[in-house]
């Protein structure tokens, strides 16, 4: 019954940690910027974040980047715990939807998300005039007390679906790209509909390097990670 299975592939071998996706997401989704004091208090707020892990010690130290955003779980821990259905599974799009206006801010979903990709608006977002003009009219600006998260740019999906619908055709592969995918210089992020057998994501999976984040928790994420390649130079 679901029409789409929106899927993201993250090629860790290509991710350079450049933060282009992070800023693109802020721009597309009206994600507020946490001030210095807020960040110090551990309230940095980015729908997509690039986790950096260190491995080894100097001089054989390596940094690994891991972009983490909402995994759009098939069996999402955040969904059943919400008392108001603000966190909700869209059967149609196979996505986890956060209905901001329905959220009362119990923050249960945030606790239960093992990926910690749900961010709470501890403060009302501020946009010094005329910065509010940059806001994307397709996305609700969330007020204080509301939980928010990556949506795979549902507004872009909906816009493409509405256009395709009105023109009486299916959505083409590549027609919808979340802002992060669009920005990513090294093509580390690949997005598409896995139910469309011709789509790039469908053709790329299964992949010999693929794994899912925290797969043992049974959350059935819609995000595939491709392991970073290891080559031993000069051995």
């Amino acid at each position: 019954m679901a029409e789409h299975k929106w899927t993201m592939i993250v090629d860790l071998d290509k991710c350079t940690g450049c933060q282009a996706c992070v800023v693109a997401c802020h721009a597309e989704n009206n994600v507020p910027i946490a001030s210095e004091t807020e960040v110090v208090r551990g309230r940095g707020l980015h729908w997509i974040r690039i986790e950096r892990y260190w491995e080894g010690e100097f001089p054989n130290v390596k940094a690994k980047f891991l972009p983490v955003f909402c995994q759009q779980c098939g069996s999402a821990p955040c969904e059943p715990v919400c008392p108001t259905y603000a966190s909700y599974h869209s059967e149609q799009e196979n996505l986890n939807i956060q209905v901001y206006n329905r959220c009362v801010g119990t923050r249960y979903c945030g606790n239960n998300c093992p990926y910690k990709v749900r961010y709470f608006n501890y403060r009302a977002p501020e946009f010094d005039a005329p910065l509010e003009q940059q806001l994307n009219p397709d996305v609700t600006v969330r007020g204080a007390g509301v939980m928010e998260k990556c949506t795979f740019c549902i507004q872009r999906i909906r816009r493409a679906a509405e256009t395709a619908n009105a023109e009486g055709r299916p959505i083409a592969d590549g027609e919808v790209q979340p802002a992060c995918v669009q920005a990513c210089p090294s093509d580390a992020l690949i997005f598409g509909d896995k139910y469309d057998p011709e789509s790039r994501v469908a053709r790329m999976t299964p992949h010999n390097r693929q794994f899912k984040l925290l797969e043992h928790l049974g959350t059935e994420p819609a995000v595939y990670y491709l392991k970073g390649g290891e080559t031993h130079v000069g051995d």
Binding site: T16, Q19, R49, R52, P185
Partner: protein, 733 residues
């Protein structure tokens, strides 16, 4: 599409509809509807329209598409057709909206009766232009023009014509991008190697081995987005195997983090290592015969043990790296910013380019690409000035030889080391005019601020050559929204002023800058998008975001050969080793860049890729060094060089040499708007004022420093965990 004139375009974008954009969940608001007086064609409320333009957040010149909804610019995206960035866009490019909508933009022409007072009085544009005219008229040829690397190409051309016409020296085009990355050094090196003074371009997409000597090409070096695209293809196994990337640098940069092998080379020894690689290829005879031959011709006498030791490697390991390079199909070597920031910069860059010569890939896929001819349009890539040129201008200002200084796109007071005497020099200039959209550190010393349109409001072109795939590109810049404030295009101001100046009137005959642009662009041959006749060509230029040929022209390769052994002198360090035991390493992160990003909250608030710190300046040091000095993350430390002092909290960074201290550039603004002001420290203060290598460059990478605790603490605004035990926890990958 054919009839887009500037006037009729501005009419289109001047009106906008108001929409409820306040917090959606905070409470509902009922709004008044303000419809258009004249509805623009093809513009519907709620339906986006896209305008192609060029990003001017850094010198690279990426093509952008700006999404306009309801009369507002709401998103900047990469232009998929554009050969520079192929539809991708970096963090700074995305944040361009926050320059456009910056709350601290100068809303119109202002004067400052007392310099440094920060009290600005608005004046009418006519009066402002009159004052500029009077100043220039009196000054005659005692005029200096200081441009930045992000000043649009057409303005550089106009200013150059103008300077020429009034008999002044050509504009100085210098800012921290140019100084830090040593653009002038790279251009000079390219001239020596390829015959054209232009920034080098490397075809990473088709390379299979990258040896980068401190080039942060995925972060800020030259064209980070374009190289990011190239890197993605490089990793995607174009020749059936995954590309191998080795990075030599004292502190792991954003690019170093993606390397397969990160080699912590001692600052100053990069050229030595490059020479050692050549020596090893020659000695071991690895790789194809012609490479070995070329290596033998170029191999200098190198202390291999010392070279390996300065990399924390054994000679055998270094030899293995040499083999990797020599045996690759299309290896490429990149001379990074640190090489160009020393007294032996030109020789060091040449030593790295020697590796490319040995590889034999110059002008080939996967190699160093030469600049391309652009036809007879009189268009050529803008050349950067060296730090020496900038310093010479400062000296002339100090000597009272300059009456009027015009500053556009640069911020010398912030970007020049205080030792250069820039602030004192400005005092000796009668009239300082800033064209910058924000009151930056330099504008504080200006008498007049005549804010230019920011790049999303203004016209222009940018000659970017070569871009990915070796295409010559002229990128277009057009207003995507009507000007937000009462600002005037600097090109128009200049043309207006020139009309009254003897000599300049003939040299600059155009009615306005658009006329100039049209003339230049329509002189180009027909490009990839066709367009017969000047009107159509001009329209296509705007519509597709620029001009480039459908296929890369067959370049005439200069006859390049290994010219024998080129000696590289050992670097001389500034500061006594006893007193200043540590090397200073400065870096740009992909967010703040050279400091321009500091005025944009998206860039301020996004985490630095390596440390995840935002909003602040920090001092990186190795855990071993930190232990020795008893410094912990969050301790405020004082870093002192022979030239200056900077205080910032320490960050213990595992991927930096124990003998090196690193600081990020970009913070420490005293002005430049509310987001930048009084935040962090400007490490440029640690640098000396004297140019290095015969006046070629800013010497930033051979400075020695000492470090001590101040006893204070400051919480770092880092996004990563602040829990120590997390380091021992099992990472998910």
């Amino acid at each position: 599409m054919t009839q887009i004139t500037r006037r009729n375009f501005l009419k289109v974008s001047a009106a906008g509809t108001a929409t409820a954009i306040l917090t959606g969940c905070g409470g509902e608001r009922w709004v008044e509807l303000v419809p258009y007086v004249v509805a623009p064609e093809e513009q519907l409320a709620g339906v986006p329209t896209y305008f192609a333009s060029t990003c001017r957040q850094c010198p690279a010149g990426c093509g952008i598409l700006v999404k306009i909804m309801n009369g507002r610019a709401v998103k900047i995206e990469g232009n998929p057709e554009h050969p520079v960035n192929r539809g991708r866009l970096c963090a700074r490019g995305q944040a361009g909206l926050q320059l456009l909508y910056n709350p601290d933009r100068v809303p119109g022409a202002v004067e400052q009766s007392e310099r440094g007072s920060r009290r600005y009085t608005p004046i009418a544009w006519n009066e402002a232009i009159n004052r500029l005219y009077e100043g220039l008229n009196e000054a005659g040829s005692r005029v200096a023009i200081w441009l930045g690397t992000t000043t649009s190409g057409h303005l550089v051309d106009l200013f150059t014509l103008f300077a020429d016409a009034i008999g002044a020296q050509p504009p100085v085009r210098y800012d921290l991008y140019a100084g830090y990355n040593g653009y002038n050094v790279l251009e000079t090196a390219s001239e020596g190697l390829l015959g054209t003074a232009a920034l080098p371009a490397y075809d990473l997409a088709n390379a299979d081995v990258i040896f980068s000597f401190g080039a942060d090409y995925l972060g800020t070096w030259l064209n980070a987005t374009g190289y990011g695209v190239g890197f993605g293809q490089f990793r995607a196994q174009p020749y059936g195997k995954r590309g191998v990337f080795v990075q030599f640098e004292p502190r792991m940069s954003n690019s170093g983090a993606s390397a397969d092998r990160w080699v912590p080379v001692r600052p100053g020894d990069e050229a030595l290592v490059a020479q050692a690689l050549v020596r090893l290829i020659a000695d071991e005879g690895v790789g194809p015969a012609e490479r070995v031959e070329a290596a033998r011709a170029a191999a200098a006498d190198v202390d291999l043990e010392a070279a390996a030791a300065s990399c924390h490697l054994t000679v055998a390991e270094l030899a293995a790296l040499a083999r990797t390079f020599a045996e690759a199909q299309r290896p490429v070597a990149l001379p990074g910013a640190a090489l160009a920031g020393r007294d032996n910069a030109l020789a060091a860059v040449a030593a790295v380019q020697t590796l490319n010569l040995i590889a034999g890939t110059i002008g080939q896929p996967g190699g160093l690409l030469p600049a391309q001819a652009l036809g007879d349009a009189g268009l050529r890539p803008a050349v950067t000035s060296s730090y020496g040129d900038a310093q010479a201008l400062v000296a002339r200002m100090q000597a009272g030889e300059i009456d009027v200084l015009l500053v556009h796109g640069a911020n010398p007071v912030y970007e020049m080391p205080p030792e250069s005497g820039i602030v004192e020099a400005l005092a000796n200039v009668q009239t300082v005019v800033s064209f910058n959209p924000l009151v930056d550190e330099t504008a504080v010393y200006a008498d007049l601020i005549l804010p230019d349109r920011v790049y999303l409001e203004g016209w222009g072109y940018e000659v970017v050559t070569p871009a990915l795939g070796g295409l010559p590109v002229v990128s277009s810049q057009q207003p995507v929204v009507g000007p937000l404030h009462d600002v005037r295009a600097t090109g128009d101001v200049l043309l207006t002023v020139a009309r009254g100046l003897a000599g300049a009137a003939q040299a600059l005959p155009w009615e306005d800058e658009v006329a100039f642009l049209r003339e230049r662009i329509t002189a180009l041959p027909v490009g990839a998008f066709g367009g017969e006749g000047p009107d159509l060509q001009w329209a296509r230029f705007q519509q597709f975001g620029g001009w480039w040929p459908a296929q890369a022209p067959q370049a005439e390769l200069p006859d390049v050969e290994v010219g024998g052994v080129a000696p590289v002198a050992a670097p001389q360090y500034q500061g006594d080793e006893g007193e200043f035991p540590y090397h200073l390493h400065l870096f740009m992160n992909p967010l703040l860049g050279d400091g321009r990003g500091a005025s944009m909250p998206w860039l301020q608030g996004s985490p630095d890729p390596m440390t995840t710190i935002s909003w602040q300046t920090w001092v990186e040091l190795n855990p071993v060094t930190a232990d020795e000095l008893g410094i912990q993350t969050g301790d405020v430390v004082r870093v002192t060089s022979p030239f200056g002092t900077v205080e910032a909290p320490a960050y213990v960074y595992p991927a930096i040499r124990p003998d090196t201290i690193a600081l990020p550039l970009g913070q420490g603004h005293t002005d430049s708007g509310r987001y930048a002001r009084d935040r962090g420290a400007n490490p440029v203060r640690l640098l000396g004022g004297e140019p290095g290598d015969n006046g070629a460059n800013l010497m930033w990478s051979n400075v020695r420093v000492k470090i001590e605790r101040t006893g204070e603490q400051k919480s770092l605004a880092r996004f990563e965990t602040t829990v120590e035990e997390a380091a021992d926890a099992h990472p998910p990958i």
